[in-house]
């Protein structure tokens, strides 16, 4: 409670973990090649600013994202994960994102069940023309995760001895 009174950031899952000064979250962004990756490219070429906390990984389709990717990201460096793909109906592979949508829901709910805050993993649909929307999404995710504090659960490095 003291840490909160001093206006310090604490991890929401483990209140005893206090964020170091000037802590910045690391966010892994897994983007689909055909829509969201092109959308993020458009954000850059349009010179729209967005937070530099996101590290982007390009995948062929949002249904390429195994829930395992999210688990592994959260275990290694990430404080949060953003997965983004084409809008429903716009998938380059016709139905890929419909399958992905089911998996995302179950993964999100399971992670929140075992004690991760729901906002640690977030999902969005961003098309190739939505540069401003991508900037807004990244800003929102970064802000959300800054509120949650550092993720300290099951981190691989804590067990490497």
């Amino acid at each position: 409670m003291e840490a909160v009174a001093n206006n310090q950031l604490v991890s929401i899952e483990k209140p005893e973990i206090v964020a170091p000064p000037n802590w910045e979250p690391v966010i892994i962004g897994i983007l689909c090649n055909w829509c969201s990756y092109a959308g993020s490219d458009l954000t850059g070429t349009s010179r729209i600013q967005y937070p530099p906390n996101i590290r982007i990984i390009r995948v062929p389709c949002s249904s390429r994202v195994d829930p395992w990717f999210l688990i592994k990201s959260l275990q290694t460096t990430a404080d949060g994960v953003l997965v983004s793909g084409c809008h429903p109906g716009d998938c380059h592979y016709i139905t890929g994102n419909y399958f992905a949508r089911r998996r995302f829901l179950v993964t999100k709910k399971l992670l929140s069940f075992v004690g991760f805050h729901e906002d640690r993993v977030q999902f969005s649909w961003v098309s190739a023309a939505e540069g401003p929307k991508f900037a807004k999404v990244v800003a929102k995710v970064t802000e959300d995760i800054k509120k949650l504090g550092p993720l300290h659960l099951y981190k691989k490095e804590n067990f490497d001895k």
């Binding site: 899952e13 395992w68 688990i71 419909y98 399971l110 999902f123």
Partner: protein
């Protein structure tokens, strides 16, 4: 519930008519009242077979191993086992014409202490759904209920849930018995083994247990039939059903009341989609 005599007669007849090469059933351990699975190869061994409410294990597990591959197999299935058998048939892992299935209209099995198992008390499909021959009287179909322990955990706060599951992952010893005992884990190479990765290979700690159990339960999401073979096999007595039942609940509530293995030809929840799937959690 004691079908020892009927099963012995059926199996003796099957061997006499040369319909099967091997029969998977249960035998007494010889030490106590508990039972273990047994594979019978000839009619002379038939007297070893038993079946009563201590016959807890899921015998569909033996269909994926070499001692029954490419043979004509007979086996006993209860309601939950028949759901996993349905999935194995649907996913093309076993051929129906090679099987002779003795279905049981199950009244529920008991654990080592003699109490009725939790999943049997809440069982929706106690009767075998796929069979050549059914023993016992059929039950009316049950209604879907959310587990009481799932409800209790879900009502707790985030920090308490985190602490509860951290303890569970801490006591896992990564023996992978849950995976080996699962009738639906039939891949010959498994991604949780990570043979090429130094990150997880051979590691025995909370982090790797978290990785293994979460990945495993997500690969079984929409397929798990709640036979609890994993829990019976776990040397640390971890409540592994929590992960599976939670997934089952999310899938049942959101994806048109999907329940795995109920109909033959119905694949897992992640093999299909609907335009009406919830979209409100996506920005």
């Amino acid at each position: 519930m004691d079908y020892t005599k009927q099963i012995q007669e059926i199996v003796a007849k099957l061997f006499a008519e040369d319909k099967i090469d091997v029969f998977a059933g249960y035998r007494m351990t010889g030490f106590d009242e508990n039972q273990v699975p047994v594979l019978i190869q000839s009619s002379g061994e038939v007297s070893r077979l038993v079946f009563n409410d201590k016959s807890v294990f899921n015998l569909c597990n033996y269909l994926k191993y070499d001692h029954t591959r490419n043979k004509r197999v007979g086996l006993v299935v209860k309601g939950c086992d028949s759901r996993s058998l349905n999935l194995l048939l649907t996913e093309g892992q076993v051929k129906r014409e090679r099987l002779y299935i003795v279905g049981i209209a199950c009244d529920g099995v008991v654990d080592e202490q003699g109490n009725k198992m939790q999943n049997c008390e809440e069982c929706m499909f106690p009767d075998a759904l796929v069979y050549d021959e059914l023993l016992g009287t059929q039950h009316p179909e049950g209604k879907y209920k959310v587990n009481s322990d799932i409800k209790e955990l879900a009502s707790k706060g985030l920090v308490e849930r985190r602490a509860y599951f951290e303890e569970i992952f801490e006591s896992c010893i990564r023996c992978n018995a849950c995976r080996h005992s699962c009738p639906l884990c039939y891949c010959t190479k498994c991604c949780i083994d990570q043979e090429t990765s130094k990150l997880y290979n051979g590691a025995n700690n909370t982090s790797s247990a978290f990785h293994a159990l979460m990945t495993w339960s997500l690969h079984l999401a929409g397929r798990c039939v709640d036979c609890r073979n994993c829990e019976k096999a776990c040397p640390s007595h971890l409540p592994l059903h929590l992960l599976h039942k939670w997934n089952e609940r999310v899938i049942y509530e959101n994806f048109q009341e999907h329940l795995s293995g109920v109909k033959e030809g119905d694949r897992g929840a992640f093999y299909k989609y609907s335009l009406q799937d919830p979209d409100d959690f996506i920005m």
